[in-house]
């Protein structure tokens, strides 16, 4: 009989296409005390490397899959339990996990469920994790998609319902962006809430998405419980126009890769799969036009065409921001205009993509903003 105090640490499913993950390193050792949220292991997927955090507190009783080995999604890779759970019970769970692993009969965690909503005549694709009462909506940046939240969505979903959507022109959503204006994009987010029957939500936006959720909050403050902004656009005139134009026009791996290097503090994160996935997206019919149209929303010559800095005060919504200190696309100087009304966390070890490089900081920021709602 398995003790319900025994926690199985499973190989996470970060994104729809992830089938297996490789454990690069165990951050903790057998016998260590861990708390929920502690880093457990570094895991490499074919998309990107990430850190697996503990769900349950207790003692890391056993590591099932050693560092260097690969395991399918859903497979038990370690066991956490209070110190007083007998070894024999732990052994039974480990044995069961090892048998599962050997036979390949791992039941895959179904992971995020992908759905489509009809918003303003456009198909908007989104994934949902968790089923808490509190609702979080994650809005990616220019050229990104809902998968850019894959390290954030899962931990946030432990106590909430977390939707990650694809803005028009992105991911699996319709590629028509209309006029591509900030208003159109903000209306898409509010329309998304309507389509799903969500009264109020915590909005989280990255880069262009940061400006979008700000505009949404200003337009309908009663619908927004809190704002979390990750390197948001529209809070200062500085933006790397070369990056934006280069990303929009790049058609080959060779052209795209140098631009992507600007996104991260750690250039090692720009692996072949990331580049290939973005190229696959960029080759879809309609994407080129969408990206070009949105460039007009983002840029005025070499500077940002967006200015949303005055809006959060108007919305009166609790706001927390996270900015990677090494951000090359929207420099951290932009954070200054947020300080009067928002808590700003400038994090080390992250560039423009804090939600991928330092996901725990983004998760903490969302919790902080939600806590003040």
């Amino acid at each position: 009989m398995a003790d319900d105090r025994i926690g199985r640490v499973a190989m996470p499913k970060w994104g729809l296409s992830m089938k297996t993950g490789k454990i690069m390193e165990w951050v903790v050792a057998e016998g260590d005390e861990v708390e929920a949220g502690d880093d457990l292991a570094e895991i490499d997927t074919d998309k990107i490397a990430g850190t697996l955090e503990a769900v349950d507190g207790g003692v890391l009783r056993r590591i099932v899959v050693e560092a260097g080995a690969e395991a399918p999604v859903g497979c038990t890779i370690a066991v956490v339990a209070p110190a007083d759970v007998p070894d024999a019970d732990i052994d039974a769970v480990v044995k069961e996990a090892e048998e599962q692993l050997a036979s390949g009969a791992v039941e895959e965690d179904e992971g995020p469920r992908q759905r489509t909503a009809e918003v303003g005549g456009r198909a908007v694709s989104y994934t949902t994790m968790g089923d808490g009462e509190d609702v979080v909506v994650l809005v990616h940046g220019y050229g990104g998609d809902k998968d850019s939240w894959l390290f954030v969505q899962e931990p946030l979903a432990r106590s909430r319902t977390v939707h990650a959507l694809d803005l028009p022109g992105h991911g699996d959503s319709a590629k028509d962006v209309g006029d591509g204006s900030l208003g159109t994009l903000a209306d898409t987010v509010l329309g998304f809430l309507d389509a799903l029957g969500i009264q109020r939500a915590h909005l989280v936006g990255h880069s262009l998405g940061g400006a979008v959720v700000t505009a949404a909050a200003a337009a309908a403050p009663d619908r927004v419980r809190s704002l979390t902004l990750v390197s948001p656009a529209g809070y200062g005139p500085e933006i790397d126009a070369d990056y934006l134009r280069g990303f929009a026009s790049a058609g080959t791996r060779r052209e795209l890769r140098p631009h992507l290097l600007k996104l991260f503090a750690d250039p090692g994160l720009v692996n072949r799969q990331l580049v290939d996935d973005l190229l696959k997206y960029k080759r879809l019919d309609g994407v080129d036009r969408a990206l070009q149209t949105l460039l007009g929303t983002l840029l005025d010559g070499e500077r940002s065409a967006l200015d949303v800095a005055a809006l959060p005060a108007k919305a009166g919504v609790p706001t927390v921001a996270v900015w990677g200190r090494a951000d090359q696309v929207i420099p951290v100087a932009g954070a200054e205009s947020l300080r009067p009304f928002a808590t700003v966390h400038v994090v080390d070890g992250a560039g423009h993509m804090a939600q991928m490089e330092t996901p725990a900081a983004v998760v903490a920021a969302v919790e902080e903003a939600a806590g003040r709602a």
């Binding site: 296409s17 992908q114 694709s125 590629k175 058609g251 080959t252 060779r254 080759r283 879809l284 309609g286």
Partner: protein, 337 residues
């Protein structure tokens, strides 16, 4: 969003979506609908291996069955292309180019240059190539190097369902004549393919996997053979960089050369016969452009210089397999100067 579909379905979807998008796209070939003039179903076959199935009911005037007259209908496709249509003509087996080669290499391939840059000939000629179906000497050849030799043609050789759809759409939209080589043993292989239309640019190799020990350049169905070999070799600690050029003309020389500059070793895997093949072409390229980086002689894994045999025993020996690639890689990695 991406679903898992077959190579055949990917091609069918590409044709369907392009015919939907552009009314100048037409499809023609022997039994492309199938059953023309016969008392039974009008879309009886949908191509000899079913690639064009379902197009005829949707676009009845634009899917044309032809008599078995390759010269006439391939030439008609070329002529129609100069007059505003975007025909996709199916030659069925690539071996049949023998009876219509003039229309491909003296007509379609030459118009642009011969007419001083004024001609536009957006024709796609689909052809099945490759051994493995016990179809013997006149239905099994891998003749893409012959087309690659001809300036003016573009030659496409997709290695997966994703490549098949994106390269087909690019071929149809491309303004130059394209020879589209489909491996007949791959029609049932499956892979993730976006439901939306998309294009893959010509002349951009796909680095199928990265590795530091040896560059393995493979074409068409040989890409999956190279991957099997790379899996095997990874267990022995040998890292293969597998490159799928996707198109033999244009050829992404830069990606191949950059890779060899890193690995210092090259194995080329080509299902065609070895003389004047892609294997010799890529080998010559690397020998000329990256000689200083080579740490071992180049290895070529190809068919023998013979017609394709019929007997399954012989045909299995004929087709390059993963073990031969493994052996070639071991040979180049074990070589000491």
């Amino acid at each position: 969003m991406a679903r898992t579909i077959s190579y055949r379905e990917a091609l069918n979807e590409a044709l369907m979506q392009e015919m939907e998008r552009d009314s100048s796209v037409i499809v023609m070939g022997e039994d492309n609908a199938g059953g023309a003039g016969a008392p039974g179903e009008p879309d009886a076959w949908g191509g000899v291996l079913g690639v064009t199935k379902g197009l005829y009911p949707k676009f009845p005037g634009r899917v044309l069955d032809t008599p078995i007259s390759e010269s006439a209908f391939v030439g008609a496709a070329v002529g129609a292309a100069t007059r505003g249509l975007r025909p996709v003509a199916e030659l069925m087996f690539i071996d049949f180019m023998g009876v219509c080669f003039d229309q491909i290499f003296n007509q379609a391939a030459k118009f642009r240059y011969m007419f001083g840059g004024k001609a536009v000939t957006p024709v796609v000629i689909r052809a099945m190539y490759g051994a493995g179906l016990r179809a013997a000497a006149q239905h099994s050849q891998a003749l893409y190097p012959l087309f690659t030799h001809i300036p003016g043609l573009k030659v496409v050789i997709p290695s997966s369902p994703y490549e098949a759809k994106g390269l087909m759409i690019q071929s149809i939209r491309d303004d130059d004549p394209v020879i589209f080589c489909e491996h007949k043993a791959m029609y049932d292989t499956t892979g993730e393919v976006p439901a939306e239309s998309y294009t893959i640019p010509f002349g951009e190799a796909n680095v199928v996997r990265e590795g530091d020990d040896v560059t393995v350049v493979a074409f068409g169905r040989m890409v999956s053979v190279a991957e099997q070999a790379a899996d095997e070799l990874a267990k022995a600690g040998v890292g293969c960089e597998v490159i799928d050029p996707r198109t033999t003309s244009p050829l992404d020389a830069d990606t191949i050369i950059e890779s060899v500059e890193n690995t210092g070793r090259l194995v080329v895997v080509d299902e065609s016969t070895p003389r004047c093949s892609m294997a010799t072409d890529v080998s010559a390229l690397v020998a000329k452009e990256a000689f200083g980086s080579l740490r071992a002689p180049i290895e070529m894994v190809t068919a023998p210089h013979t017609p394709v045999p019929f007997s399954p025993v012989l045909e299995d020996l004929y087709i390059p397999d993963a073990q031969r690639v493994v052996n070639a890689v071991k040979s180049v990695t074990g070589w000491e100067r």
